[in-house]
């Protein structure tokens, strides 16, 4: 009698054995010095991979962690790509860039940051829900990852927003070397249940039962479009990584004896031998073939692109509208016209429309594309990353620039790295907007300018708005970016109108770059002082150009970059060649700041011969009291004094 409920068969066993043999091969190659870096094996845990990754459909997706080889093979079947990846070869699934922990192939993604993949996978799943594809996803975490807070931020959101994501927690009872009882309080399943998420459990010593329950959990997520949480009890028979095993050998041995492949070997030795031998041949042949291959060429990974600032200039035009109105107008168009657009942020639902009203009435126009989020900066940045990986254009708002620190892991270790570490297979066009800056009396945690931390993130563009032209010009460029963009908006600029004050003896112009540079220069004279400022400081300096001329006896030229992660060094160097003097004004503190970078780069390009100074915030928290706030942040008095004393 044919029992269709039989979930374990020789194919599954062979797949489990394949995973094990591949990982054992990795350990062997490592010991021979042929494998760079490290590996975390899942020997003993293979049936968890097969139960979930192996029972998904092609359209579904997987996010996995540092212990991902089993999940990868079970989902993609791409043993060769994995072997070549770990051997660091060009034909590896990510060209050898990512290696063991950073894989990407056909809807399979893994990353080596604990917990960070959970919100990203939630965003990817949300994307599938918005598209209505019926696809579901599985994210694998370990019991050690349960210490990461972003998981709980995400569980709250996936339950509330009904996101079709199955979290599979592989509980092997150790967080690296630490036994679970030392670090874990309470009950694992109760944590998920507290968020109203369906939970179930199984173990790898009863794979038949595990396979059936896994299929039921996947079906539940698919049919109800709600999240699930599945706890798989298992045991890794090898060390966390390689030599780092302090567990009781008797405990390991006891688990080895009940390991299903071990049991199968005892019961069906002839089959085991046949499959084992065939896999040996298969894997050895692949390895021999792969070892002959070459590495990815360095120039295929990175090529320097010099900054070339456009020299076609257009006069600035005054617009009798406030910056915030123009921003809102752009987003109103985008939410209707751009099917990729999704808006996320705290309190952005209308009528409130966000703390600074930039997103006003968007949720009236297209409610299903506006997500007013819990106070969970890490999770919503991760969800935005996942949406971006899934083809959407998320515009996410962090309510105050100071809170960017809560999103930092998602920007630095996820958004900025995906494209390169997956060897350019994916792009992550996420947009993170945030109002930065002081002069509103909000005090130490709502006033600081953190730009210098953001421009230090590789492969993320950081754009700073200003009040000299319509911000829609910048956002139109941002909307077609394929890589992450951070937009620094300025709290005090929101209420200002565009290019209002123009002195008659100066020319106001911007170039035609995607992120235009503004230049305000003496009408015909060559400048004798080059000033670079951006964002809110640019508005202040522009308003004092005539004063600077009258009182310091210098003809100033102000250059205002808007793409502050790629400064217009060539343009500034050209101006400094004429003027011999460079002043950089920034609202953040000066050490290792934007001015440091700019002056160094101009020095490299011109070989020196000029005087340079910076005017920056003092390196202390921004005080609330007005008089002190004004003296900590750069102000007119300090700028004039600096020019007089340094450039006389």
């Amino acid at each position: 009698m044919l029992n269709n409920r039989i979930a374990i068969n020789h194919r599954i066993i062979r797949e489990a054995l394949r995973i094990r043999k591949v990982e054992e091969k990795f350990l062997e190659l490592f010991s021979q010095g042929k494998l760079n870096g490290t590996v975390h094996t899942c020997v003993g845990q293979e049936f968890s991979a097969l139960a979930f990754a192996g029972q998904l459909k092609k359209k579904d997706f997987i996010f996995s962690n540092h212990r991902c080889h089993g999940h990868y093979i079970a989902f993609t079947g791409d043993t060769r790509g994995l072997l070549a990846e770990l051997l660091g070869k060009r034909s590896g699934t990510c060209g050898g860039i990512g290696s063991s922990q950073h894989l990407c192939h056909n809807n399979f993604f893994s990353n080596g940051i604990q917990g960070g993949i959970v919100p990203v996978s939630a965003g990817f799943a949300l994307g599938n829900k918005l598209k209505g594809t019926g696809a579901v996803g599985v994210v694998f975490i370990g019991d050690g990852t349960l210490g990461e807070g972003t998981i709980y931020e995400t569980m709250n959101i996936i339950s509330k927003w009904e996101i079709p994501l199955l979290i599979v927690c592989e509980n092997n009872f150790y967080a690296q070397s630490t036994p679970q009882h030392i670090n874990l309080a309470g009950d694992i399943l109760a944590r998920a249940a507290a968020f109203g998420i369906r939970t179930d459990r199984g173990n790898t010593w009863a794979p038949e039962d595990l396979m059936i329950r896994a299929q039921e959990a996947i079906d539940y997520v698919r049919e109800t479009s709600r999240p699930g949480f599945f706890l798989v009890e298992t045991y890794r028979l090898n060390a966390h990584s390689k030599g780092d095993d302090d567990r009781d050998p008797a405990e390991v041995e006891a688990h080895r004896e009940k390991d299903f492949l071990q049991v199968f070997q005892g019961e069906s030795p002839a089959y085991f031998q046949m499959y084992n031998d065939a896999l040996d041949v298969e894997i050895n042949t692949l390895v021999e073939e792969i070892l002959q291959e070459g590495d990815l060429a360095a120039e295929d990974y990175y090529q320097h692109q010099p900054t070339v600032t456009g020299e076609e200039w257009t006069p600035l035009e005054a617009i009798n509208k406030r910056q915030v109105e123009l921003l809102n107008a752009f987003f109103r168009d985008a939410i209707v016209a751009d099917d990729r657009a999704v808006f996320l942020g705290e309190d952005i639902l209308s009528p409130y429309g966000g703390a600074f009203k930039v997103t006003k009435e968007l949720s009236f126009l297209r409610p299903e594309r506006v997500f007013s989020t819990p106070i969970s900066e890490s999770a919503i940045t991760g969800i935005s990353n996942g949406l971006a990986l899934n083809g959407f254009k998320p515009y996410m708002e962090i309510m105050f620039g100071d809170f960017m620190t809560l999103a930092f892991d998602q920007i630095v270790n996820h958004a900025s790295k995906f494209h390169h570490m997956f060897n350019k297979k994916v792009t992550c066009p996420v947009v993170i907007r945030t109002p930065m800056g002081g002069r509103r009396g909000y005090g130490p945690t709502h006033s600081q300018t953190l730009d210098k931390f953001l421009v230090g993130i590789d492969n993320v563009r950081t754009v700073a708005l200003n009040t000299f032209f319509d911000p829609a010009v910048l956002y139109r460029s941002i909307s077609v970016e394929t890589h992450p963009v951070i937009v620094i908006e300025n709290k005090t600029d929101y209420g200002k109108k565009i290019a209002q004050q123009q002195y008659p003896n100066f020319v106001y112009e911007r170039n035609n770059d995607a992120y235009p540079v503004v230049r305000i220069r003496p009408a015909v004279s060559a400048p004798t002082l080059t000033i670079v400022a951006y964002g809110g400081m640019a508005e202040m300096v522009a308003g004092m150009l005539e004063d600077i001329f009258l009182t310091t006896d210098h003809k100033p030229e102000l250059i205002v970059p808007s793409l502050i992660s790629h400064l217009p060094v060539d343009l500034v160097a050209g101006s400094v060649t004429d003027s011999g003097r460079l002043l950089v004004v920034e609202e953040g503190s000066g050490f290792a700041g934007i001015g440091s970078e700019l002056i160094a780069a101009v020095m490299e390009m011109t070989h020196g011969g000029f005087t340079a100074r910076r005017v920056t915030a003092y390196p202390v928290p921004i005080p609330s009291v007005k008089s002190l706030e004004n003296s900590v942040l750069p102000d007119k008095r300090r700028i004039l004094a600096e020019i007089k004393t340094s450039f006389s």
């Binding site: 009698m1 068969n9 194919r11 320097h304 003896n505 009408a523 015909v524 004798t528 006896d553």
Partner: protein, 467 residues
């Protein structure tokens, strides 16, 4: 009146530091049109036509049948006939070290990637300002002190104290503080080509009464040079093996379109796949190291009235048997039609020479320059139903045991094309676990069943009973 263009010896293949001028098709001083062939050069592999890049009058700076180093000037084009007819300034004809522009190394050097700084002042034309002139406080003070009229500065936008001082004392006034940066002089590591080719010198005396001297053709000279490179060291060896051929062609011919009863396509196919596993046979000796090619591009030798040439089967390791067969046919056609390109003749990483049509029993193939091995195929002995494969190799790169392993595997692979029985059960497999009947060890066979999809199928005992 102008020199329009200098014609330099081009770099056509990395091995060729000199080229031979074989023909000067135009009369010196003649008018030539753009696109017209003005020189015929010969590389070690093929001949190459040089076309006039512009209209002009030609002056040759070379002679036929002589060698010239890459980048040496061999002709000039002038706008006037009188210039082209002027005597050629004497120049040493011997190939000398030539300085060519560097092609590598500019990638990550910051000074090389920095564009030149643009100063606006240098380019700006003096502009006139029609608006009101603004004076700095310092300028006001100086104007007053000097008793100047403000109108003196009419037409200026901004006037500083420095401007006033310059007006009062034009020589001593401070100019821009900064000198323009010295122009970057990218004396980038110039590539020096060691331009002297192996020269053949007569060492054996000739008595004209007893022998007639036939001058070596340049193609033959190059062939000698090419083969001398490795063979002259004497450190080569050749291993031979027999390949059993019985019953091979009926099987093989099924996979071939045109080249029936030919071993060459399958030899190329199998060799190309195997070379990845035998990198030392896809390599060459550099003098102090072994250079292993990153790609496998086997070549096959051909000599049908057009001279001995080796034609490249690019990327054969990733091609099907049919594609390789097609490549062989295409390249042979190009060889006969004289339409081979330089690319089809260069960067060959391993050579196969098939003399099976010549009836030889076995022979010792000679290894080409920048190769470490060559495979020779002799004729099939119809009586014994076998043929000899001979592999010559450069002993400085590898040794006999390694090559023997290669030959043994190649023999097994070629012989595996001799069909055998089997394959009877291969299409019966369990619909659940895909185990084939051949793999089944249960001894009770499979059960014929109807699958849940309603199709006929088989199920194995373990899937039927479960675990």
């Amino acid at each position: 009146m102008a020199l329009l263009q200098e014609i330099l010896v081009p770099l056509l293949a990395v091995n060729d530091t000199t080229l031979t001028v074989v023909e000067l098709p135009c009369v010196a001083g003649a008018a030539v049109k753009k696109g017209e062939v003005i020189l015929v050069l010969e590389t070690s592999k093929t001949s190459y036509d040089v076309e006039a890049p512009v209209d002009g009058y030609i002056q040759y700076c070379c002679e036929a049948e002589r060698d010239y180093a890459v980048n040496e000037v061999i002709a000039r084009l002038y706008s006037e006939v009188s210039e082209a007819s002027a005597p050629v300034p004497g120049r040493p004809r011997v190939a000398k070290p030539v300085v060519a522009p560097a092609i590598n190394g500019q990638q990550y050097a910051p000074s090389a990637m920095t564009p030149p700084v643009q100063s606006r002042r240098a380019a700006a034309t003096p502009a006139h300002w029609g608006g009101e002139t603004l004076f700095s406080y310092e300028a006001e003070r100086l104007i007053e002190a000097a008793g100047l009229a403000r109108e003196t500065f009419a037409g200026r936008d901004l006037v500083t104290g420095a401007d006033v001082q310059q007006y009062l004392n034009p020589v001593a006034a401070p100019g821009a503080r900064m000198a323009a940066p010295t122009a970057a002089t990218p004396t980038a590591a110039a590539l020096t080509a060691a331009g002297t080719a192996t020269s053949l010198k007569a060492v054996a005396p000739v008595d004209p009464s007893k022998a007639i001297v036939q001058k070596l053709q340049s193609a033959k000279r190059r062939e000698i040079e090419y083969l001398s490179d490795i063979q002259s060291t004497g450190l080569t060896s050749t291993l031979n093996t027999h390949i059993e051929m019985e019953g091979i062609f009926p099987q093989l011919n099924k996979g071939l379109g045109y080249l029936k009863d030919s071993l060459l396509p399958v030899i190329v196919y199998e060799t190309a796949r195997m070379l990845a596993g035998y990198p030392l046979l896809n390599a060459y000796f550099t003098g102090d190291a072994v250079a292993v090619y990153k790609e496998v591009n086997p070549g096959f030798a051909i000599d049908i009235d057009k001279g001995l040439k080796v034609l490249k089967l690019e990327g054969a390791g990733g091609k099907s048997l049919r594609d390789i067969e097609a490549d062989i046919l295409r390249l042979s056609g190009a060889y006969l039609d004289d339409t081979l390109t330089v690319e089809q003749l260069t960067d060959i990483t391993f050579t196969i020479t098939d003399l099976s049509a010549e009836g030889v029993a076995f022979f010792r193939p000679l290894i080409n320059k920048m190769n470490s091995a060559i495979l020779g195929v002799s004729a099939i002995d119809e009586k014994l139903q076998r043929c000899t494969f001979s592999l010559s190799f450069d002993h400085r790169v590898t040794e006999g045991k390694y090559v023997a392993g290669f030959l043994r595997e190649l023999k097994e692979r070629i012989e595996s094309y001799r069909g055998d029985a089997g394959g009877f059960y291969t299409d019966i497999s369990c619909f659940k676990c895909y185990k084939t009947l051949k793999e089944d060890l249960g001894g009770t066979g499979f059960v014929r069943c109807i699958t849940p999809e309603g199709k006929e199928g088989y199920v194995c005992q373990s899937c039927l009973k479960g675990f």
